[in-house]
Amino acid sequence: MERTGGAVARRSAVDLSDAGPAVEVAALTKRYGDLAAVDGIDFTVGQGEVFAFLGPNGAGKSTTIKMLCTLARPTSGRATVAGFDVATQAKSVRRHIGLVFQEQTLDDQLTAEENLRFHAVLYGVPHAEVESRIARVLDLVALADRRKDLVSTYSGGMARRLEIARGMLHTPKILFLDEPTVGLDPQTRALIWDDIQRLRKEEGVTIFLTTHYMDEAEYAERIAIIDHGAIIALDTPDVLKASVGSDTVAIETADDAAALDALRAAGYRVERGEQGLTAFVADEEAAVGPIVAAAGVPVRTVRAHRPTLDDVFLHFTGREIREQHGEAVPMMARARGARRN
């Protein structure tokens, strides 16, 4: 996908350029008593990147984001955000980041505009620029026509989009989004993702988000999978998916033995299972037609599969993320049984 290609290119560009990374984390640890909520993690986020932290609740996502936003002090390790140390330069960090929390933090007895003006003053936006910035961010999230309305009249999705607009008001270098779409319907989630992509493109802001929605993580250019306070995988969505295996096309035919020979002769890597044949291919979508044609016998069923982030999470943790509650449930049996049959 274009998205991912861009990410790789951008990353190497960042590595070569003088501009420092947006976020740099080394051996970052947070302990609560005996429990290590975050256990010595390392990663770097390039400028302009969309970076996702994926993991079940309690994995350490929120603790990490809190440390990066200077809301929690690291027990040990080091983190810089926008070039500032989170432990010693908290105020400068906060000035250069935008924050959208999981829970709503608007005053619903004020209008959208009043909420934004309040924020502009809190973050020291120069007086002469306040009006133009408010108009700009409201345009970015398509709420300009609701500017004078009380926030109490907003839907949940609108309120969340207003918060994203507010997070962008003081032109932060990095926008942190903690579970930005949790509790919203799919249509609203899609709208919010449109907003986020627009911010990235038009304002060039780096985006750091946490999520336990697999499909959402796919919007990111790179994903860090975190579990029990440790990063267990970090790469682009496509690379992560490739690491759990290639695309497959499974077919059932009138004569599996004949089809197996025909497909192998045509150069496909094919294996025979209990329920027909499985071909391992680079791109399942493109391969379906040629495989059916090359089988040479009538094909009864076709199932094409590309590994998803669900597979990735399962592969690395042996557990599945459950969408609604974000709890990881033990899925060891399924992990062993279903993989690479």
Binding site: T105, E114, F118, H127
Partner: protein, 297 residues
């Protein structure tokens, strides 16, 4: 409002220095003053927008003034043409100021519940500015509420002079500042909404009853006297009654019947000393409020 930055700004290039900003915690005073103004403005907007709050803030004092006022008048009687309603009036004005100030300050509990407190606490600003803005806002609305109460004066036979009105407004402001800082301190310790009612019932009501707002503090049993003297409100309520009574045409018998002074260890405090005590309480509560809010998040 709070137009502090110059409009002839040289543009964004001047606002953000080129290269990496070296200063880490540079606190710009004009920025902090803007914050104080903004927090204050929010309190005013919210006060004006919730008319029910203005009305309900008037109901209770009016109840005390007229219902309790008439009810007690029969018992207390009239001395030299002066009755219980006239006695209780300054206390009731003080009460409306106290309740409005406390309510305004305790809205921090709401802000915590609905998340807005977080928006304020994570901002790169000083907590002092937050407490100052909140205090200024609470004091403003409380003084407005107290001033509305002044229109009731003629109805209970209290004679208002221009000087008295000015004195009352100044006393209202001082009392409101002290009570708002106290309220912010209390609110910083309240984590849950449910605790709010408890605080109002268990803290505010006893403080009001034991402040001399509704009855004279002289001649009480020893233990009650001690409690009233520990109550900061006592020293804020007394000056109200002193300035109001000073402006009334009262017979010596009435003045003896309805005393206004507070005694401490046998000394009769002057109004200056009472006000000084209120100022000390205000400063102490301000520091406690600041520390309370600093511990959060």
């Amino acid at each position: 409002m709070t137009t502090l930055s110059t409009t002839g700004s040289t543009g964004p290039a001047a606002a953000v220095p080129a290269g990496v900003p070296a200063g880490t915690s540079e606190t710009v005073v004009s920025d902090e003053i803007r914050v104080v103004g903004m927090v204050w403005e929010r309190e005013i907007i919210r006060y004006v927008r919730t008319r029910t709050r203005i009305i309900s803030g008037l109901v209770q004092p009016v109840l005390f003034l007229f219902v309790l006022g008439y009810g007690m008048s029969g018992l207390v009687g009239t001395t030299g043409g002066f009755n219980f309603r006239q006695f209780v009036y300054p206390g009731v004005v003080a009460m409306s100021v106290v309740m409005t100030a406390m309510f305004s300050a305790l809205s921090i509990v709401w802000d915590r519940e609905f998340g807005f407190l977080r928006e304020m606490l994570v901002a790169p600003i000083s907590r002092v500015s937050l407490v100052l803005g909140k205090t200024a806002g609470g004091a403003s609305v409380a003084a407005v509420q107290g001033t509305i109460m002044l229109v009731l004066a003629p109805l209970v036979g209290i004679h208002l002079t221009p000087v008295l009105v000015v004195q009352m407004i100044l006393l209202e402001l001082l009392m409101a500042v002290a009570m708002t800082t106290f309220g912010v301190f209390v609110a910083s310790r309240i984590q849950k909404m449910e605790s709010f009612q408890v605080v109002m019932q268990m803290l505010l009501m006893p403080m009001l009853f034991l402040s001399g707002a509704l009855f004279p503090l002289n001649g009480l049993p020893g233990w009650l006297t001690v409690i009233t003297r520990l109550n900061p409100l006592t020293y804020a309520v007394a000056p109200f009654r002193q300035v109001v009574f000073a402006a009334q045409d009262m017979s010596p018998a009435a003045r003896a019947r309805f005393p206004t002074n507070v005694t401490l260890f046998g000394y009769t405090l002057s109004m200056g000393m009472e006000l000084a005590i209120v100022v000390v309480f205000a400063v102490v509560f301000f520091v406690l409020a600041f520390r309370g809010l600093s511990k959060t998040e």
